[in-house]
Symmetry: D2
Subunit: 383 residues, 4 copies
């Protein structure tokens, strides 16, 4: 079993993930700032493929043009020196108080304009450093007070913004695809487009739907208790899995951003298997962070752990495919299910309506799912 | 305040709702069967507009053709005598053991065929009695064992079935629209198409997307902790709110189907306001049931309560629109937000990118949401 | 209906609540610091009874002795000038990185010693300013990694600390009672003593159990989806409701600390009714904060709203008691239930075992709960 | 690794678990009744230690005395023939409509009397067949309508009942211990004593607290999102773990009663480790059932799977104790933490208050929890 990551595994981390300083609603920073250049070098040493960022992860919001240029130059040198890539970039539209009531969906036309301004500049920065995917997480696009904001208007405003920015990317000849990332709540009481499916429903209403897909995040779907394997499957079936955020989360609580598969071993085995089976060839991006109890060494332990567990689960997916007992059971279970539905015709409808069915016989068919599931548990536990 | 319902309010109930006999996972029936004819008569007396049914709510699954005809005749007479309508019908694809592992998404081609057979016959029955909307709730389309079923294949099978049935409806010249109803779990560990948004994403991939919309259910979205007001807003914005199931639910637990707005007073006030403001003119369908502690009289108390609270909240929505203090605050909050985004042009992009923004000034804009929300609480509490 | 608060209502706020500056996991401060003296003055003007604090809400953790004395003197003058009280104080054992893996339950004996040191000094401060109740919220006493810490050892360490501090209070002749406050998670993955009931179970194992009770917080119980009315009832029945934190929360998500009863109108009506009916005469403490979208004016709107809604619900509790229809139904429902159980005797056991029961007759007794609950909804909605 | 269960493992199943017929709120029975005698024989063959029951799992509620005697005789013969034991028994106080609004907490004194009658007779039956533990799960002791019932009165009524029944057991010279089992909701909207901790708090208030402990159920705690490992640890620390119900559950949804550790691999590893480390020597009772998709063969697959995974996790707990890397990290982590707190003295308090602490130095101590947790994941995955 190969457990040492290489760039061909396409593992990526956000600057904000390894750079997370451990502040939380009840506590202050526990780790010093991490220089992006150092992040690039250490991640390269650990076998990562690339690094992603929000504009302000790299360039402070109040940096001068000179500062920006110096930062970008140093960062690019680190990328060049290490062979690391920047497959994805995104905009921070949530930290600054200006976005306290939303960015693209703010009531304030000036705030909306500023959000476009900031995003175009961040797109320029991302593309300059090689980004091919641009993520939108609307963390402040939501409400605590439903009297104050119209959720229909919010959708329209968000659509206007995405349409505008698609056109900007086309206009600039940027080879960018957009990936929309959902979350049900936190920091807002309720965030608009609460689930990946909300964005899958939204995309066909855009002016340029082919350019836009989704960036499901494990933790965000699990916060709502949803089965993330099913969620990603729908995105893949729709041809819209443009990026993915891997981490972990216990359902029904605050956003934990735990080390990948450190909690949800079985569900995330199926997710890894799905990604590998589906031909998804984009980055495996870890949007997680080390426990607040860690120092910097612990951050690298965390990063290694994310990649290691992915590789273990990938290997187990291979074992699943090669497991005679599992495959025999699957054949038995799927027997009789093959063949697409016959297309509709009046005659087929007539025949189907007239056909006699023996419900008891159909209901008595054996479905040995306990046995199958136990084989999966055995496989996961390495028995 | 008018609190007595009339048919023009378009309140409807399922036969299975007032006919619910109070069985649950830990207890037996507590109420005797309710004759559908009696249900129609009592609901008419109480001011309802119509009654909806699953095929087997009206006609037992093993009824002979003669029994079916007699039942339908008696039922129609009750409708005619009372003026009650049947705006919606649906298929029971979950009670019989034949559906234990799904209907349209079963591995077994014969089960899938039987599900089509049963649905076509149920559509015939529904249309015969006047149904204009046909609901699909795939309660058994899901999994406990993700090894056993492929969620991508499940989507494809579900699509095949809906495409087939759309064509059947067209072929039969049925003036039917389909409404898809989501639920995250129960009775399955995880149900495919877990949220209304999953179906909104699915519909554009159908052969005949205009014919298909959604039937959001309050409780089902709230089981996942989602904001049902936001969910329904997205459906309305997409032009896809074809029907709605009103009830109530505490988040993060079993499907409760509580009396409308008996728990979630504030969220459901906004939902009623949205329905009334949006021009939605379909049925206000209550998919709920009386507590298991009730006898038949309690069932009618329950039905009256659903309608009464809807009317109260509708009246409060009117008060909200007429409330000088609320409207003044809303004007203040929305000031500066009017006007759509300017359409994209290279020049506008250039100008926006070059524009200077005073973030501190923008961030300091007052947003008196506590005050507004308290006014809403006062209004709801009748102060 | 009297909606203007007076000190006799015993409404209190934490300095950290009105002083909350709106930082969250994704955003920076939006409000400037609020001087504790100003907080006291404004709250007094609004009709509050008192103000509570963590040691470092008032005195910064690195303050010199002189700074401490000056701050305390100014604060006391504000209290004296306004008549405001300090009924409760508590220790901040969570913000500083030293507590990143716990305070009383830390593996590090020095951290545990520092936690005792800090708490004793904070108790001195609290008592100096008049506190009669001392709250313990062990926000960092928990784990993300269950391999790292022994939950049994954690209980023992927490017990040692509370026993030690009880003795310190006795030794100092402090007229203090301790109130333990539970929370299921956040900031830790799981916090030890996850619910109020965990502390109710823990208290009888202390050396001085009479001195220790609980401080249930609405939001913390609701995070776990528990019925806070039932939780507080158990605390009252046990004689252990020493303090209470009032706020609001949607279940199954991050700790929201919303304005009292801004979401959970019906559950918190029952809570207010319980407090008023039970003879609880302690502070009604609001442990909540204004939305991050507010400026300082919004903070006072928030504070007014908490008190106003409490008073409205208190008035409605009075209406409930005086409502002829509700009381008639309650009499009907409770009929036959009066009279305690006969005490055990061998003869009574024999007779009971031999008695014949008509289950059908007993089961058919009418329980008009839908009707009763609708009357409550009507009462809440002011109809 | 020994994966074949033997009676010395003390694995037990309820008759209602292997006898579960697969009915759910939306579907009918899928499996025929399972004869208790057959259940005993098959479980014995599979290596179980014993079988537990509710009175009516064995003897139908309307059985005549002769029928009862015949059933008990046949059942005892099966026990004798197989060497199977009955370590635990309990009362069904939830299925019959008579209990629709509670048993021991019903408003109706006759229902409360009937609940005592039924429980005493069920205790006689349990003891006759060898039960040493008697479980109380108050599935109907709760409310949907908080106006209708007083939760304080409910606690008192429940206490009266348990006190009465303790005295009955003493009077009969039954060597029984009682174990109270909590659940937050389902079938009731909210069940009184929602968590195991609620019962731990209740027990010290009984007349005979030594006789009464708890029966935590994994699924019930996880329904509320609680950490079941922490919950059971508190019960053990209190000396009150008298029995345990092992199964599995995804948080925040209906009661799933899944095969042990089929979902929550890591949390239940820690639970198994705790049980084994703590010296708990009672039954490992599986309160779960096969998926509704299974036939009888699947029921035995399910039973085997529960025991097999327990044995795997038990073996992994042994590996954990023997794992050099894990133990070295634990030593490092625990260093400096040894030694109980010094007992209180005035002098120690003075010294502690005066001591200087270097917060920065204490905060900088390394806590390599990511590394440790990854070792646990590796161990679980068999890498």
């Amino acid at each position: 079993m190969r457990l040492t990551p290489t760039p061909s595994d396409k593992f990526t981390f956000g600057l904000w993930t390894v750079g997370n300083r451990g502040r939380d609603p009840f506590g202050e920073f526990v780790r010093p700032p991490l220089d992006p250049v150092r992040a690039v070098r250490r991640l390269a040493e650990l076998g990562a493929y690339g690094v992603n960022f929000h504009d302000n992860d790299l360039v402070p919001i109040d940096a001068t043009a000179d500062e920006r240029d110096r930062i970008v130059r140093d960062f690019r040198q680190a990328l060049d020196a290490t062979g690391m890539t920047v497959p994805m970039a995104t905009t921070n539209l949530f930290t600054d108080p200006v976005f306290k009531d939303g960015a693209f969906t703010s009531h304030d036309a000036d705030v909306r304009a500023y959000a476009l301004h900031k995003t175009m500049r961040a797109m320029d920065l991302g593309v300059e450093l090689g980004a091919k995917t641009y993520v939108f997480w609307g963390g402040r696009e939501g409400a605590e007070v439903d009297a104050a904001k119209d959720p229909i208007e919010a959708i329209k405003r968000f659509r206007d913004a995405i349409n505008f920015l698609c056109k900007y990317a086309r206009d600039q000849k940027y080879a960018l695809r957009f990936a929309l990332e959902a979350k049900p709540n936190e920091p807002r009481g309720d965030i608009y487009f609460a689930t990946t499916a909300s964005y899958l429903a939204f995309i066909p209403t855009l002016d340029d739907p082919d350019m836009v897909g989704v960036n499901p995040e494990v933790a965000h779907e699990q916060m709502a208790g949803l089965n993330v394997y099913h969620v990603v499957a729908q995105a893949i079936e729709a041809g819209k899995l443009f990026h993915i955020d891997l981490n972990d989360q216990k359902p029904g609580r605050f956003d934990q951003d735990l080390r990948f598969a450190s909690e949800s071993i079985k569900p995330l085995f199926f997710l890894v298997k799905l990604l590998e089976d589906s031909g998804y060839d984009g980055p495996r991006h870890f949007d997680a962070h080390a426990y607040r109890t860690e120092d910097e060494q612990g951050v690298w332990d965390f990063a290694c752990g994310c990649m290691r567990t992915y590789l273990i689960l990938k290997e187990k997916a291979q074992q699943f495919r090669a497991h005679a007992g599992i495959q025999a059971l699957l054949s038995e279970i799927r027997e009789g299910g093959e063949g697409g539905e016959a297309p509709y015709s009046s005659q087929r409808a007539r025949e189907l309506k007239a056909r006699n069915f023996d419900r008891q016989a159909l209901a008595s068919r054996r479905l040995p799912y306990e046995r199958l599931d136990q084989m999966v548990v055995d496989l996961l536990l390495g028995v």
